[in-house]
């Protein structure tokens, strides 16, 4: 562990949360938050009960949601929800989001103000890395780690190695954070950042909204990374202001405090990579791994059956706005079916207020409730054998959205343009 040089963002968070050094480079961290959903948590709950350890370390640090299959689709998923609900009641977990208030975890929890710069967070979900957009260390873990997190408020990680990715230049019209991260994964590979933390830096990231930063960090795990991190700045403060205004005299004061989670200038990185995105065209995947990436133009004309706009990657209001701009006043092609799932009730409500839902419905989209269901082939948009889905989700694994199906990952703009064309197409927001 480096004591005499500057520290990366992750190193600063680790050093501030270290509870123990059990062996070698393993560090046990105290956790600021443990997030839970109904697919991986009920097994942890049942196991804790079986062990006679049905306790939670601090109910105010546990946030739970039913989001993967909701409303329940059968008796088994109903039971998963019931186990969560009973557990939340039993332990007075105030931040429990049940049907009507529930949304995709990685969109919902930031929206509720649960993520702050410098936090340590775990969840039994690989896309927990999304929350690094706020300058937090947030990592996906399995059920056993989750169990220990719930019980003892700690989790073990290797002291992090970091990769800094500087994104420079200027994003062209019609090119988005999703295109940037797909391009980066295409370059470094699905294994390119295994066991590392990726810091996303540079002027393009500094200019991005929190929504766009979440999209970047969300897919860090698709390159194997433990977490993606963006540096807290005034954009972070503005997003969090409704939740922190009683804690600080001014936004500037909050920013001064959060700056301590930025890396030192002489921090040591395993690798520093630069990507100039000035000439980057919209990107798309073409195979069964998220690193099989090419420009959309190379896949132009490929037939699709379903278009899916939603998920923890791209179901936020900004994503729906972009897609609606592309769809505005037009009908999707008769040969395809479109599904849009706003990621949270708040996003859904905003989309209603702004007329975005009407645009989607007029275009012929099915508007689904907030849920993760289709992305992992569990509910609400599973595709059939031999079918192709143009999707704004984060994984294109073989069988991911349904056995024998093919998923092409893309931005909401490309997905909307594809819906209109009936085959893979660039949106007219991209003027090159």
């Amino acid at each position: 562990m480096q004591e005499n040089t500057g520290k990366t963002a992750a190193e600063k968070i680790f050093d501030a949360h270290r509870v123990d050094n059990p062996a070698g480079d393993m560090v046990v961290l105290g956790l600021d938050a443990v997030f839970c959903h109904e697919i991986t948590t009920p097994v942890a709950i049942n196991d804790l009960i079986a062990r006679g350890k049905d306790r939670v370390f601090d109910p105010s640090c546990i946030m739970a949601v039913i989001d993967h299959v909701t409303p329940a689709k059968d008796s088994k998923t109903a039971m998963q929800g019931k186990i969560m609900r009973d557990w939340a009641r039993r332990h007075h977990i105030e931040h429990f989001f049940d049907i009507g208030r529930n949304g995709v975890c990685h969109a919902l929890f930031p929206e509720k103000g649960f993520v702050r710069p410098g936090y340590t967070i775990i969840m039994g979900d690989s896309h927990t890395c999304t929350h690094g957009a706020f300058g937090a260390f947030a990592a996906g873990v399995g059920t056993t780690d989750l169990e220990v997190g719930i019980l003892n408020g700690v989790c073990a990680f290797r002291y992090p190695r970091s990769i800094k990715i500087e994104i420079t230049g200027e994003l062209p019209d019609g090119v988005f954070a999703k295109d940037v991260i797909l391009h980066i994964i295409g370059q470094i590979g699905v294994n390119g950042a295994t066991d590392c933390v990726i810091e996303f830096a540079g002027p393009v990231v500094a200019a991005m909204s929190m929504e766009a930063r979440m999209t970047l960090c969300n897919m860090a795990v698709e390159a194997g990374a433990t977490c993606g991190i963006c540096y807290p700045d005034m954009t972070t403060v503005e997003y969090l202001w409704p939740f922190i205004r009683t804690e600080y005299d001014s936004r500037q004061a909050a920013l001064e405090n959060y700056r301590r989670w930025q890396p030192d200038k002489d921090a040591v990185y395993q690798q520093v990579l630069q990507f100039d995105v000035t000439d980057l065209p919209p990107q798309i995947t073409y195979g069964y791994k998220p690193d099989k990436v090419c420009p959309v133009s190379e896949m132009q004309g490929t037939a699709v059956d379903q278009i899916y706009i939603g998920s923890c990657t791209n179901g936020r209001i900004e994503d729906l706005r972009v897609a609606a701009r592309v769809l505005s006043g037009q009908r999707i092609n008769d040969s395809v079916r479109g599904i849009v799932s706003p990621a949270t009730p708040e996003i859904y409500q905003k989309a209603l207020d702004e007329g975005i839902i009407k645009t989607f419905m007029d275009a012929g989209f099915c508007v689904a409730n907030p849920t993760c269901g289709a992305c992992l082939g569990m509910s609400c948009g599973v595709i059939a054998e031999g079918e192709v889905c143009a999707s704004t989700t984060n994984r294109n694994f073989y069988g991911r959205m349904g056995k024998g199906g093919m998923v092409h990952l893309m931005s909401p703009a490309t997905a909307a343009a594809t819906a209109l064309a009936g085959h893979i197409a660039n949106s007219d927001l991209y003027r090159k």
Partner: protein, 178 residues
């Protein structure tokens, strides 16, 4: 300490992901045993027949980045309920690797040349591999032929296996008592 080893299944592909190990549609199960019939059901690997090829296996040998994708611990559990307690690969995805040790199972990474050698000299239905955690050696046996390969497991991972998993280890060390 648990003895690791036995009949070995060779999966000649990199980046085998957790959706292939256990598809999400089975994650509605809340017992490990229920996962048993579905291990590697969707594996995209030519010539692989899960119904025939998994039977009796205790060990998997595979290429790079095994277990990438989802955090679902159902992936190691699906191995466990099929009797597979050890995976040997060039590399693992972080969460999968941690899940294996957290459950008291072994995820052993060895250099690419070793994996290449295992595939070229030992791949086949009659191969058995055993791990000795005390000596740090793998014993590979095939039709009378035998070889030993050194491996290492970190002190922390060894402690997890010795404790029987992370819950036992952590609650003894960081718990406030029941």
């Amino acid at each position: 300490m648990h003895t690791f080893g036995g009949k070995t299944l060779f999966l000649d592909r990199s980046d085998i992901n957790t959706d292939e190990i256990i598809p999400a549609k089975y994650l509605t199960e809340i017992s490990k045993a229920a996962l048993q019939p579905y291990l590697l059901e969707d594996l995209n690997l030519e010539g692989f027949d899960p119904a025939k090829d998994i039977a009796g296996c205790r060990v998997i040998v595979t290429r790079a980045n095994f277990g990438c994708g989802s955090s679902r611990e159902h992936a190691p559990w699906a191995l466990e309920v099929n009797g597979i307690h050890m995976v040997i690969a060039e590399s693992f995805a972080r969460i999968f690797r941690q899940n294996m040790f957290n459950c008291g199972m072994l995820a052993i990474d060895v250099p690419r040349q070793t994996i290449d050698r295992l595939f070229s000299e030992f791949a086949g239905p009659d191969t058995e591999i055993y791990a000795d955690l005390e000596t740090g050696e793998l014993t590979v046996e095939k039709q009378g032929q035998q070889t030993r390969i050194a491996f290492s497991v970190s002190e922390f991972d060894r402690a997890l296996v010795a404790a029987g998993g992370w819950v036992e280890y952590a609650d003894a060390r960081y718990g406030t008592g029941s």
